[in-house]
């Protein structure tokens, strides 16, 4: 079943190319800063706006810092923090959604109301509240972005588990005397994993945007951290004269989001069980 999904994903050119590009971005973010060609934070006021060269592939900024290294390190922040928050959001959302749908009753009602309440609050507000109350740190930052994303994951997982709960094979397992744990781990999870995977990917795309927006607004992340959104804000006053400084981080944000979104679509098509039933 998994092999077949993989085959279909590979057959989908757009998704495959997006996956390759995105992997390249991530790998270079991981590898290049380690090689230590340039330092991302030290200032070289004599080397402002160096010409594009192998030494400085993306030139240097107004303070003479190497843009390429800054981008790669910034990617660690943007992509890393959003990945962390996505993992948090999807794990919590899946557990909440699954148990609330499967167990029902008061727990379900509570989960649904809390989700509705949280999703009514703009995520920027949540981050500000968390920053004010818990103090500032990258862990909290991810947590805050995650909390903003949990309701939508919970709702998706809950609705697909609800559809599944009335499936007759679940009833059959109950009549066989199987425990709820067995049913959830062996049947429910197995049947909703494709939903979860697709949800993970789409949440990741949304988190990258959220992370950049927060960086841009200097909420939770401040200069000189080279987070991509923060970089856009840092160089925004130079947009007239040195537009590439704004353009490069924007390009990376858009490219990452686009790739993740296309991967999401590819995953959805490859994993849709309705499709392989007709094969």
């Amino acid at each position: 079943m998994f092999k077949r999904a993989l085959k279909r994903f590979v057959r989908n050119r757009t998704a495959l190319i997006s996956l390759v590009i995105f992997c390249l971005i991530i790998l270079s973010c991981l590898i290049f800063p380690l090689l230590g060609f340039n330092d991302y934070s030290s200032l070289h006021l004599d080397q402002q706006y160096a010409p594009f060269s192998l030494q400085h592939p993306f030139s240097t900024d107004n303070l003479g810092r190497d843009m390429f290294t800054r981008m790669m390190v910034g990617g660690r922040y943007t992509l890393g923090l959003s990945l962390l928050s996505t993992c948090l959001a999807v794990t919590c959302g899946t557990l909440l959604g699954m148990f609330s749908a499967y167990l029902g009753g008061v727990f379900d009602k509570a989960v649904v109301s809390v989700c509705e309440a949280v999703s009514a609050v703009p995520y920027i507000l949540i981050v500000i509240i968390m920053e004010v109350s818990l103090g500032w740190g990258q862990g909290y930052f991810s947590l805050a972005v995650a909390i903003a994303r949990i309701p939508s994951v919970t709702q998706t997982v809950r609705s697909s588990v609800l559809k599944l709960r009335d499936a007759e094979f679940i009833s059959a397992a109950k009549v066989l005397g199987k425990s709820n744990w067995h049913i959830i781990t062996r049947h429910v999870l197995r049947n909703v994993y494709s939903t979860i995977l697709v949800r993970f990917s789409s949440t990741y795309a949304a988190s990258i945007v959220a992370c950049s927006v927060l960086g841009y607004l200097e909420i939770g992340i401040s200069s000189p951290t080279p987070e991509w959104g923060r970089m856009v804000a840092d160089y925004f006053h130079l947009i007239g004269s040195r537009g590439f400084l704004v353009f490069i981080p924007c390009l990376f944000i858009s490219l990452s989001v686009l790739c993740v979104t296309l991967i999401t679509h590819g995953l959805r098509d490859a994993l849709d069980p309705k499709e392989y039933l007709h094969e």
Binding site: E168, F169, S171, A172, K174, V175, L176, R190
Partner: protein
């Protein structure tokens, strides 16, 4: 002397959806004998599925008791595609209820599937084959009572007879007791020893298959039988009313052509009019 396997008394179950309260089972009492097939017949919404789920332990009744001597119970479902996990192989599905996974192959062979099919996934099999998988899974725990919830309704006719024959053979071999739920009177006539006719959560008439089919007493049974398509048969024409009135008594009263005043206000309890033949209708008093 027939041995009573399950005795159901005063079973009641209601469902709430919004402000609407539906009585899916309303004071249902009957006995099930070991080794017999009891057919439960009625139209959609008559409570037959709820009854099956209560007996299979999937639903808790609001009131009433089920006293059982059965060593185990199982259920076979209507929709073969929905009753197996699409991500499991046939062998794992059958082995789910087994202590020893090796027994699964034997069970598959018993229900007429071949060894090669054990590694197939459900979408590779036909509806008829999947229904066999469902039956094999049910047999795994060695039950002596099986609820068959419309087991052939979703199948094409050329598979129906095979599944019916399989169920009959298994019953003979293992002395199984079936509660056979169906809306199709022809199928029930073929397989059941006794028939129970339900309408809106209540038992209207119950008796030996021959008596119910050839000599129906309750107006609802007669109405139902008159509607069964059977080619070139002279059938009783049975016209009903279509009055929209509330009834506190017999649920069929608003449509019954023989309705009397008391039918709307008073619930008629089941009375035995012949051996093993109970009818819940005031007409039988005359």
């Amino acid at each position: 002397m027939k041995e009573v396997l399950i005795e159901v008394s005063n079973l009641t179950r209601t469902f709430h959806s919004g402000d609407k309260i539906t009585k899916a089972l309303d004071d249902v009492s009957f006995k099930l004998y070991r080794g017999e097939t009891l057919g439960v017949v009625g139209e959609s919404g008559c409570g037959k599925t709820t009854l099956g789920r209560c007996l299979a332990g999937l639903l808790k009744p609001d009131e009433g008791t089920i006293v059982t001597k059965a060593n185990g119970y199982q259920i076979i479902f209507q929709d073969p595609y929905n009753s197996v996990d699409p991500y499991w192989t046939v062998e794992s599905i059958v082995a789910e209820g087994l202590k020893n996974r090796k027994e699964a192959v034997g069970l598959l062979e018993k229900v007429g599937l071949s060894r090669q099919e054990k590694n197939s996934y459900p979408h590779e099999l036909s509806g008829g084959q999947l229904q066999r998988v469902g039956i094999a899974r049910a047999l795994g725990t060695n039950p002596d009572f099986i609820v068959c919830d419309e087991p052939v309704s979703a199948l094409d006719v050329s598979y129906q007879s095979k599944i019916i024959s399989l169920l009959e053979d298994l019953q003979r071999e293992q002395n199984l007791t079936y509660l056979f739920i169906s809306h199709d009177l022809a199928v029930v006539r073929h397989i059941a020893d006794r028939i129970m006719i339900m309408y809106k959560g209540q038992i209207m008439e119950m008796g030996k298959t021959e008596d119910i089919i050839n000599d129906p007493v309750h107006p609802y049974t007669r109405f139902l039988l008159s509607a069964v398509p059977s080619p070139f048969e002279e059938k009783e024409e049975f016209t009903v009313r279509n009055d929209r009135i509330e009834t506190g008594g017999c649920p069929f009263a608003p449509r019954c052509p023989y309705r009397k005043e008391r039918c709307l206000s008073e619930r008629c309890s089941s009375r035995e009019i012949a051996e093993e033949h109970q009818v819940a209708c005031f007409l039988t008093e005359e």
